[in-house]
Symmetry: C2
Subunit: 425 residues, 2 copies
């Protein structure tokens, strides 16, 4: 399973120098090469390129595990923020290539300094790690005052999300100036990445919230099997997928032609994150009939209740016994369908979570909903409003306990840094 | 990656019956076969046998992921407790074989009843799932009063753990009448198993606490690579391993010859669980020298600081510069070594965890320590006491925030149920 990667090789290279007389190893690799200056790794099916027109981790076929963290920036100095974004970019390029976060890594730096990598991913492969960065509304302004010289740069689409009926948001799971989505097939790799970015941020930004997702709940490529969420249903069937070029341009990416202060977002996207607690114990005591009716699809195959197989289009006009619609009027897939939402779609990329117990004897489990959209004003808020009012699944079985909206800038070209367009030289 | 298993086949078998006219599927498979009555699955490298002399999940080569849950029994009826243990046994035998928790599974039961499996593991392989059951002190007596007719059956070794210096135990992460350790290479499989056992327990027992572990921190077989904990060090090097037959008998299994009321524990073991928060942010800012000194091993290879390679025995007498011992007197591996502990050893089987943030800007991360020992009075309490006082790693970087001690009965023979010996007919 574990492949030998540059990360593995680096650590092995270190072994000779440490070992028996560990005290002697101090500083023997004290060059100051930056991570980005190392020779590019061998292309490997296990790594996802970091640089490119778009950030990775959006249309990348959804990896199995997630660690997402939102950060509060604790400095108010523009140069320090830029320096942080540059440091993060270098570390992200290295880690996604299966290398350690810093040039000298966990074991090859000076013996009397803290290591430049925390070491728990030594010997693991890159596990298709992607790191996707975003900016929250509070990075641009707080209490009506602009920060970091970003007057007028906050995109109009980066709204403060409204309160939706039924929301029970916890302050300590909501918001954040910066967000990092780490996805990998190996959770230890995803946790390692977030932890090293937090380490690098010391003194500039600290973790506001973080969320581990143990199982993906969406397929984002036609090459993937549709996974299941904790209601036991296939999730991702009718998702926008990597292969849907035109749909991506229409519904996911920010188009060209924005007014000048927002031009830095062209080719980017908006990330909606919602921590949705699911009442799984209650759900587990409802009948299969009720469950399928609430979703509007069969549990076994994920076919619409109007007939066919998983990828058959739902027929919302189809009627059954006593003229009742086969897909109920309050079914989730009806209310979330483009035909009910002025044609809008989203790229969903959520994860199942469980965070221990709720203190009442239930598991604190649910779906960490992540979606990428071209504009949350048209592509998220109306649908969520409809769901919060009419969708029986949402009304009866779901509670939103955390929330975030982030502007995800376009990809990074080699030599650049994430969000560079926001900070003209 | 995903193998076709009986679980997968079962769900496919259901597809024909559901689909278009889902409403017609009701009850078409209404036989009342119990899970255990189904034909045994094909032997598969991906399943670990459930039945046997010992419970699985102890010497089983440590799987990658953990979901552990402790339960409070809410009935005081002995027969209901026994019925629960029988139901759990049947479901555990089925799920560890890659089957669904109940006979009709997520999709083949009567359409107007809750499904007998929650469905989120449909299509996944067994992922080497093991389920290991244990009994806490409070199952036997509460507030000095015996429960379930178990007067005099509480083993002397199932003590109330003492308070150790520095302990900061949270009530809602501590104790429990019953414990279930679910280990699998796939976290979705482990979470599914705990959730279905909780579902089956409804009305009889509820979840007191649960813990997800995303990365194993111990190897328990010589065939495994040594993994790393969140301090970035290899963990498990000098663990007791599956191949150590004699050591297992001496240090892990409860021997024959116990007094009659405890005879039901022969061939079992004691499970110590400690949720240990690690101050990783502070650790990450200490030098490599300090880190290696605190552990007593090198970070790269895990070799003792007295020299050699990973599996070289540490030489605690070896001295270096200025006559200082190469392995410091307060180093973790010295204080935990059998030579300092009357020769005792333990089988460690812990997992890395991260549970979001602590609200101060740090990750709430650490090591969920699990050990199996023949008797916690000799094999855990003295070592933990020494560590809490002398081991600088523990004193400076660790806080114990949760705790549990459980009697793990021997394995289940086909037709029996877990803990049967405790309830003579
Ligand atoms: C990513 C953000 C953070 C990192 C990397 C971090 C890291 C550290 C480090 C390295 C130390 C060790 C001593 C030192 O250097 O001062 C420390 C100690 C401490 N931190 Fe943080 N910290 C972060 C955020 C915070 C925040 C936001 C708070 C409080 C609001 C906080 C509260 C403390 C306290 C009280 C200690 C003292 C602990 C002790 O020595 O017993 N930290 N932290
Ligand atoms: C715990 C929360 C949720 C669960 C369990 C859930 C479950 C599902 C399921 C099973 C499907 C059908 C399969 C598929 O096409 O992927 C689906 C579809 C969908 N869901 Fe959700 N969902 C949840 C929350 C949300 C939220 C918050 C939104 C957006 C506001 C949303 C938007 C959609 C959309 C757009 C579709 C596709 C509809 C279509 O085009 O057919 N879902 N969901
Ligand atoms: C494994 C243990 C548990 C399971 C499987 C479970 C399951 C359920 C189920 C199925 C319901 C739906 C309604 C019903 O059947 O009554 C429910 C509701 C509820 N449970 Fe639990 N429960 C558990 C433990 C607890 C505990 C220990 C408490 C409180 C101390 C609790 C508090 C509640 C409350 C307040 C509701 C009502 C929620 C509502 O309908 O809005 N539950 N639980
Ligand atoms: C966060 C907490 C802990 C960390 C990070 C940690 C780390 C380590 C490391 C890196 C090793 C050396 C490699 C090995 O032989 O496995 C080790 C060994 C060991 N640890 Fe821990 N440990 C922790 C807690 C504990 C606790 C609570 C105990 C028992 C009370 C314990 C008992 C042992 C034992 C018995 C050994 C083997 C010593 C030998 O025979 O050489 N550890 N630990």
């Amino acid at each position: 399973m574990t492949k030998v990667t540059r990360r593995g090789l680096l650590s092995m290279a270190g072994v000779g120098g440490v070992g028996a007389a560990a005290g002697l190893a101090a500083g023997f690799l004290g060059h100051d090469a930056v991570a980005g200056a190392e020779p590019p790794p061998q292309p490997d099916s296990d790594t996802v390129p970091f640089h490119g027109e778009r950030q990775a981790g959006i249309t990348t076929p959804a990896q199995d595990r997630l660690h997402m963290a939102a950060f509060d920036v604790v400095t108010e100095d523009r140069d320090e923020l830029i320096a942080l974004l540059k440091d993060w970019t270098a570390a992200a390029a290295a880690m996604t290539a299966g290398k350690e976060a810093g040039a000298t890594g966990a074991v090859n730096g000076p013996y009397d300094a803290p290591p430049e990598d925390t070491g728990e991913a030594l010997g693991l492969s890159a596990g298709r790690l992607t790191l996707t960065f975003g900016f929250g509304p509070t990075l641009f302004e707080k209490d009506g005052t602009a920060r970091f010289g970003l007057e007028g740069r906050r995109p109009a689409a980066l709204i403060d999300l409204p309160h939706f009926p039924g929301d029970d948001l916890q302050e300590q799971r909501t918001g954040g100036d910066l967000v990092v989505q780490a996805c990998s097939d190996d959770p230890q790799v995803a946790v390692h990445a977030i932890r090293n970015l937090a380490r690098i941020a010391f003194g500039k930004a600290h973790v506001r919230w973080s969320q581990l997702g143990f199982g993906r709940t969406s397929s984002t490529s036609r090459a993937q099997q549709t996974p299941r969420n904790l209601f036991g249903f296939k999730d991702g069937t009718n998702n926008v997928k990597a292969e849907d070029g035109g749909l991506l341009d229409e519904h996911v990416w920010v188009p060209a032609g924005a007014p000048a202060p927002e031009a830095w977002m062209e080719g980017g996207s908006y990330l909606v994150a919602r921590r949705i607690r699911m009442h799984i114990e209650i759900w587990d005591r409802t009948s299969l009939r009720e469950q399928e009716g609430l979703i509007g699809r069969t549990k076994a195959e994920g076919a619409p209740l109007s007939g066919g197989t998983e990828f058959t289009a739902p027929d919302f006009g189809a009627k059954g016994w006593a003229d009742a619609p086969l897909i109920a009027t309050d079914a989730h897939v009806r209310i979330a369908h483009p035909s009910q939402n002025s044609g809008v779609r989203m790229l969903r990329r959520g994860y199942n979570f469980t965070d221990g117990s709720d203190g009442l004897g239930h598991l604190d489990a649910g779906l960490f909903f992540i979606a990428f959209v071209t504009d949350p004003r048209t592509h998220y808020v109306p649908m969520q409003s409809a769901m919060a009012r009419q969708d029986s699944l949402s009304v009866e079985y779901l509670v939103h306990t955390g929330s975030g909206l982030f502007a995800v800038p376009p990809g990074v070209r080699p030599g650049g840094y994430v969000g560079e367009g926001l900070f003209p030289a």
